[in-house]
Amino acid sequence: MGTRVSLSPELSVADRLHDEIAKLRAQVESLKGDVRLQTATLMTADSTRQILQSQTTGDRQSRASEAVKQRLLERFQEQSAHKQQCLYRACATITTFKVNDPDPNAVDGGNVLGLRFEIMSKAKFVRPYYVMLNRPYTNRRYVRIHRHTVPQCIPLAGLAAQHLPPPAARNDEDPPKKQDLSRFARALRRELVRYHNRAAVIGDMKKAAGLGAKKASDQESDTAIVDISAADAEANQISMQWRDGRSGRLIMNNDGEIVKMVVQGDNGQDRETVRQFLGGAVRVEEVTRRLESH
């Protein structure tokens, strides 16, 4: 008995120590992150550059500090290059980079061109979408999509067929079509942005109808609509569920304009609800605004 009693506090002591160690480790990690952040901030400051460069002109330094300075200068250049890249990424939203395909049998010596698409959603940059292109065709600058991270709901294959057609085969009578990489990139970005916007609009509508958070829906049990959700992969269709069993479907086009809306009640189509719900709105955002004001 005595040993058992003494064991359990010991165990708890060990546990506590473990917890403490874990906590300290986490703290160290966050402090390290802070240091990195501060370094990065310092490194990009203009005054740092001035100091570094002024020191290079002075000649009283020892060799050791010279080396340190050199390293700092390198780091500074790296950091400012990164800063510039970030600026381009944030503002131009489509950027390119080079990748080397690790496959030893890769076409074109493993040269791969990467396109990076920055998309903003909910006031945040989401993880960029990437499209990697390689050149598997003979002696031509024709590119082909090698790998990509674009979700299936974006018609990437269609875009590629339109803007990046493969070079014509020998037996093909059609004149070879030209590839237009920049148009492809622009069209793809447009699709991505529209997709995210549609998804966001549906989210907004949910919020406007009082379905955003779970708490809200509990409090306002008098909301007429109980569910709003995207009904298809492309987020073109919104399905709605009313409390009294009516269900509706709103179809918008790619740009967010309302194409059609149908509400099915107990006795067939319920046109009155549609009229009330839309209120002459042309775009989905207007519906959201109407819902908010009610």
């Binding site: 790296e78 970030c86 030893p104 010596g109 993880r127 990697m132 598997p136 082909r144 790998r147 085969a169």
Partner: protein, 569 residues
């Protein structure tokens, strides 16, 4: 129940249709479930919402008491008075220990002695599928839109309207109830099917279970043949066999479908099952199609028992066309979004930069054996060398596989088949040695490829015919490139270098028919482990061995899987 008039119809089997509980296959379906899942299933059946589809036998509330008592007096499992009483009974059984047999008997001879509905059968079947996720083999098909003929004359003039519309900007959409309605219209009238939709927990897909009976009726007659006459018993047993069940999975937001391949080696003939499956596979694109919007299914050479693996390769996420080492671009966690945000001022640390490598070392040291670290410190040159090599191998594996192909990620494919069509490397025998070292089924035969003597062009044409995805340009390029840039990339696989020598020899090269078949619980994780262990040279390993092509069957030409499979287009 009075026998009703049964007319042959094309309607589907209703979910509430009851099957005689003495049917052997019902007993089989129920008794292969474990006791806990069986009990949870029964409690699902007893849910008030399900009462129209799976009503248990209950005592009549307001009838002659004496008669009722007599009827059930000698009963082993007297029927309960109410639903809640029954629910309590089964909930009790959940807390109690006991055998599975007890529950099965209670169901079949007690509460559902009048028969289990097809819906209940479907639920039991699905429950088994969820309990044992590896029992079915899934084949993946891509839904592709066909060209719409522009004019009526086009349709009559030629059959070119069956071409796949590659420029379409439309993502196929799937609506369950419309789909079912159309699918039923495609099924022949002498076959009746029962359909059941379900959404498995934790998987972003919709599962459709199709259960087929050979009967023109959609009433009791379809299922009660066994009890009626002894002569038809055998037939009914086969018709209830599991091989008559087909599962179709529709992943969310992905223009693919997964169709199950029947595994059971029951009394049904293979041909029958296959034709049934073919019927369904043929019917699906028609059911998805609408006027002026037609679709076709195209196989994508991906078969696995693991739905998770399937979803990561053909699912709604970003990893579809970025498998293997490219997975570093597809990671979609919030932390990743933050690190890769353009607003992040920190210098990026690519996965293989020095920083992370050091961290990995620390982790290894942390992992316990300080002995190794101290031994490393003792400066035994051999051990340091070994250590370095191991580290290098680990880094290479990281570079080739990224975060994918971990043994515990639950995304393992269990079989990969590859046909190698490359010419036999003459100068360097080590390529072959490399392959030899890891595969079990290698069958070099002296048979040569068909197009060998017909010259390059003819073989190219044949190649083009064989794989429509493959662009003939591709081959031409490879032929030319060898003369164009022989020393472009020195560390290539030996086979490549050989052929870079001269085109003539390539034309007449010996192309042995080599088929590789890799088996295991997680094939690509196994390859990764071999790379990490230094058995496979990770830098010279062809790309398809990392799984980045996203197929489980393929032909390899020039060290790559033919048809640009990895791009997912």
């Amino acid at each position: 129940m009075a026998p009703r008039l049964s007319l042959p119809t094309t309607a589907r089997l209703p979910s509430s249709l009851r099957v005689n509980p003495s049917t052997a296959s019902i007993i089989k379906v129920l008794s292969r479930l474990s006791r806990p899942s069986l009990l949870s299933l029964v409690l699902d059946w007893l849910d008030p919402n399900n009462q129209s589809l799976c009503p248990p036998l209950l005592r009549q509330p307001e009838s002659d008491e004496e008669d009722e008592e007599d009827e059930f007096e000698n009963d082993l499992y007297p029927p309960a008075h109410s639903l809640s009483e029954l629910r309590e009974l089964y909930a009790d059984m959940q807390t109690r220990k006991g055998s599975r047999r007890e529950v099965v008997d209670r169901i079949l001879e007690g509460d559902w002695r009048r028969g289990l509905s097809l819906y209940q059968l479907a639920m039991a079947d699905l429950q088994y599928l969820y309990d044992h996720p590896g029992t079915l083999k899934w084949a993946c098909y891509k839904i592709q839109r066909l060209q719409t003929p522009g004019h009526e004359d086009d349709v009559e003039a030629n059959r070119s309207y069956d071409k796949i519309d590659k420029t379409t900007m439309h993502v196929p959409r799937f609506h369950p109830s419309t789909f079912l309605q159309n699918l039923q219209a495609e099924v022949l009238p002498d076959v009746k099917a029962h359909y059941n939709f379900d959404r498995p927990k934790g998987l972003p897909l919709l599962l459709l279970r199709i259960f087929v009976l050979d009967s023109p009726y959609n009433t009791d007659l379809a299922v009660s043949a066994a009890s009626g006459s002894t002569s038809s018993t055998a037939r009914t047993v086969t018709s209830f066999d599991a091989s008559r069940t087909i599962y179709v999975a529709f992943p969310d937001a992905s223009p693919h479908i997964f169709v199950s391949k029947s595994q059971s080696a029951g009394p049904t003939t293979h041909a029958e099952t296959r034709s049934l499956r073919a019927l369904v596979v043929e019917g699906i694109p028609k059911a998805l199609s609408r006027p002026r919007e037609r679709y076709a299914l195209k196989t994508v050479n991906l078969q696995t028992k693991n739905l998770d693996a399937m979803l990561s390769l053909r699912g709604p996420g970003r990893s579809n066309a970025a498998a293997g080492g490219w997975g570093v671009y597809a990671a979609d966690k919030t932390a990743d979004a933050r690190t890769h945000s353009p607003l992040n001022p920190l210098l990026p640390t690519p996965p293989l930069s020095d920083d992370t490598a050091e961290e990995n070392d620390e982790q290894v040291a942390d992992l316990g054996n300080q002995e190794t670290t101290t031994r490393k410190r003792t400066l035994d040159p051999e051990i340091t060398e070994q250590e370095k090599r191991r580290k290098r191998a680990r880094l290479v594996a990281e570079a080739r596989f990224g975060d994918n192909a971990q043994i515990d990620d639950g995304k393992g494919v269990e079989r990969v088949d590859v046909l190698i069509e490359d010419a036999f490397p003459i100068h360097a025998a080590d390529l072959e040695g490399e392959i030899d070292g890891q595969e079990e089924a290698q069958q070099p035969r002296s048979r040569k490829t068909k197009g060998r003597r017909s010259g390059v062009d003819a073989s190219l044409l044949e190649e083009a015919e064989r794989d429509e995805d493959e662009d003939p340009e591709q081959q031409r390029r490879d032929q030319n490139q060898e003369t164009d840039a022989p020393d472009e990339n020195p560390p290539r696989v030996a086979g490549r270098q050989t052929r870079e020598g001269d085109r003539d020899r390539d034309k007449w090269a010996w192309r042995p028919n080599v088929r590789l078949s890799l088996h295991g619980p997680h094939v690509f994780a196994g390859i990764r482990q071999l790379v990490e262990a230094g058995v496979i040279d990770g830098e010279r390993m062809p790309g398809w061995m990392t799984g980045e092509e996203g197929v489980t069957m393929g032909a390899v030409r020039n060290g790559r899987i033919k048809g640009f499979r990895g791009s997912g287009l």
